[in-house]
């Protein structure tokens, strides 16, 4: 089966001059990303584990807290509470996984010498670096979004079951918890903050992992810290530090953080404001520069 399906596309490819060129664009990228997922299973296991823990906690809450209270309004409140919490946890897990993944992405392959194997194949350094960058920038946000949706649906079903079992209507739960708005909001947040706004952070981590021989984590943190300290001592200002804080907080979209979703989610969808913020564009440019340096570094680097 496998041999057949793999051998089939090869034969016409070999005979034509154009087809292999077309292949070189997309297929190595696709397989490089798959390779990352094979190697780093924490990319999906960690968020999955967090989701499982959340559902388990919710289960205890529904059975324990919700059922122990006799006040029906309070019981409903208990059941409505944890949706944003679940979302927050999964996103946080994805962020942490993204940071650790990025710090190891181009360091691990040099440490275990497998870079010599990767470099023996017709995959360019650009494709490799882009495939690695796509993990924290595209795959993790999309996966954690899908996982959040799935988790919240499971929680909704569990909550409904409990309500129905206690003789209450589950309908208010479905109307009171603004799941659909929450998902729209979350998707927007994922794209705006995790994919675009955080891009320079992840790309900086990738650059450090391509450059450092050891202690990638320290090298990622120390230079920004040093700049902040020197600035403080020399000029008694905190521009760099506040810039960093602004970057990590999510920038113009900080108000869109899920914690504040309940207030009124839709009014915080401000793509126009976000797209016109210089911080976003400056961030993207910095991220692109970091990536270009990373590609260059990978060309020079061998095993360590």
């Amino acid at each position: 089966m496998n041999t057949q399906s793999n051998a089939m596309p090869e034969s016409p490819l070999g005979s034509q001059g154009i087809a292999p060129a077309a292949m070189s664009e997309t297929r190595p990228m696709y397989w490089s990303v798959r390779r990352e997922l094979w190697e780093n299973r924490s990319i999906y296991i960690a968020p999955l584990a967090v989701a499982a823990v959340t559902v388990f906690g919710f289960l205890i809450a529904t059975i324990g807290r919700a059922m122990s209270t006799t006040d029906l309004a309070q019981r409903r409140a208990v059941l409505e509470e944890p949706y944003t919490f679940a979302m927050f946890l999964i996103m946080g897990a994805a962020f942490v996984v993204g940071i650790f993944y990025s710090l190891d992405a181009l360091h691990g392959e040099r440490r275990d010498r497998s870079i010599l194997f990767w470099k023996s194949l017709p995959v360019s350094d650009l494709t490799t670096v882009l495939s690695k960058a796509s993990v924290p920038l595209v795959i993790l946000p999309l996966f954690s979004f899908a996982l959040t949706v799935a988790t919240q649906l499971i929680m909704l079903l569990l909550g409904s079951t409990v309500l129905l079992a206690s003789g209450l209507s589950a309908a208010p739960l479905w109307t009171r918890v603004p799941l659909f708005q929450m998902w729209m909001m979350l998707l927007y947040h994922m794209v705006a903050v995790h994919m675009i706004w955080y891009a320079p952070i992840y790309c900086w981590m990738l650059l450090v992992s391509a450059w450092t021989r050891r202690a990638a984590f320290l090298w990622a943190i120390l230079p920004p810290l040093a700049i902040g300290i020197v600035e403080k001592l020399a000029f008694n200002t905190k521009h760099f530090a506040s810039m960093m804080q602004y970057r990590f907080s999510g920038g113009p979209e900080a108000v869109g953080m899920p914690g504040s979703l309940k207030i009124d989610p839709m009014t915080h969808l401000t793509p126009g404001h976000f797209l016109s913020s210089p911080g976003m564009w400056a961030g993207l440019i910095v991220a692109a520069i970091f990536l270009a340096v990373t590609v260059r570094l990978r060309r020079y680097q061998g095993p360590i």
Partner: protein
């Protein structure tokens, strides 16, 4: 067709010179062995050929500049770097999937055919395989790629004799043909003596010997000298002599006038083959014996340069 062409190839790491103006020309269909002491510059030379390290001087591999066109070059070039560089977390089936995915000239059925002859299971992870099996796996992957140049850097380091023998047998029987070219470095010279078509000695970043195996056989002669003829034999200026079980073994260069890195003219022998035959038993020396002779004569610190 010229597969590798280097002129004045230089590479320095800080103050150490790894390659000191190497001129190299490898034609299609050859199996070149590059032999040298540790730190002679073998790996550096191969890394330059593979586009893994920047260099000074001119270098073309299959008409391309390896440093700037590595990814395209790697469609036609395969390499196995010293022992296991296959990622240890990878499963055998994943390795097949991945190479099939990224390499346009990979024939998966062929690779599976090679693997079927070994004890390697598709579900195994690389970390679960023995050193010999990892090499078999890497060789299966590489032999299934229809490449023009195969570069092997110490491919059999740390393997037992059976695996080593099998490795070169597979290469010769199942892979090599006149349209392919192989460049190999190794310290286990006795393994490759009958495999190579060309031989090159490198020392401290310089090529000190470059000849085909036919030249090697016609040019160098080892004589196990009869005890009473030792003085007469020594008078003929052997390039090296050693004692084995009380017998003198002398190594002669039949064309000492030729600079060692020039292709020799096979007709006129400086020291007569017939004359040597009267002194004792003749035989073609092993590469290792010539290596010791040549490296010993180019005395100095053997471990001078970086790899």
């Amino acid at each position: 067709m010229t597969v590798i062409e280097a002129r004045g190839l230089r590479k320095a790491f800080g103050t150490t010179t790894a390659l000191d103006g190497v001129n190299l020309r490898v034609e299609e269909g050859r199996i070149l062995g590059i032999i040298g002491p540790n730190g002679a510059g073998k790996t550096t030379a191969l890394n330059a050929v593979l586009g893994l390290t920047p260099y000074q001087g001119e270098l073309r591999v299959l008409g391309r500049d390896p440093w700037t066109e590595r990814d395209q070059l790697m469609r036609d070039v395969c390499f196995i770097a010293d022992v296991a560089v296959l990622p240890r977390w990878m499963r055998v089936s994943q390795a097949l999937d991945y190479v099939a995915g990224v390499h346009p000239r990979f024939d998966r059925a062929k690779a599976e055919g090679f693997l079927a002859k070994t004890d390697i299971r598709h579900t195994s992870k690389v970390r679960e395989l023995s050193k010999g099996m990892v090499t078999q796996l890497h060789l299966a992957l590489v032999m299934a790629i229809d490449a023009k140049l195969l570069v092997l850097d110490e491919p059999t380091l740390g393997l037992d004799i059976l695996y080593r023998k099998q490795f070169y047998d597979s290469l010769l029987n199942d892979y090599f043909d006149r349209s392919r070219t192989i460049v190999v470095t190794t310290h286990q010279v006795e393994d490759v003596q009958n495999v190579l078509t060309d031989l090159m000695f490198i020392q401290r970043g310089r090529i000190v010997l470059d000849c085909s195996m036919e030249e090697f056989e016609s040019r160098y002669l080892e004589v196990t000298v009869h005890p009473e003829r030792v003085a007469a034999a020594r008078a003929l200026k052997p390039i090296h002599q050693r004692q084995v079980l009380g017998r003198s073994i002398l190594l002669f260069d039949l064309k000492p006038d030729l600079k060692s890195d020039l292709k020799s003219d096979l007709k006129s022998d400086h020291v007569d083959r017939q004359k040597l035959a009267t002194l004792g038993d003749l035989r073609t020396p092993g590469i290792a014996d010539l290596f010791v002779a040549v490296m010993g004569n180019n005395t100095g610190q053997m471990q001078g340069a970086a790899r």
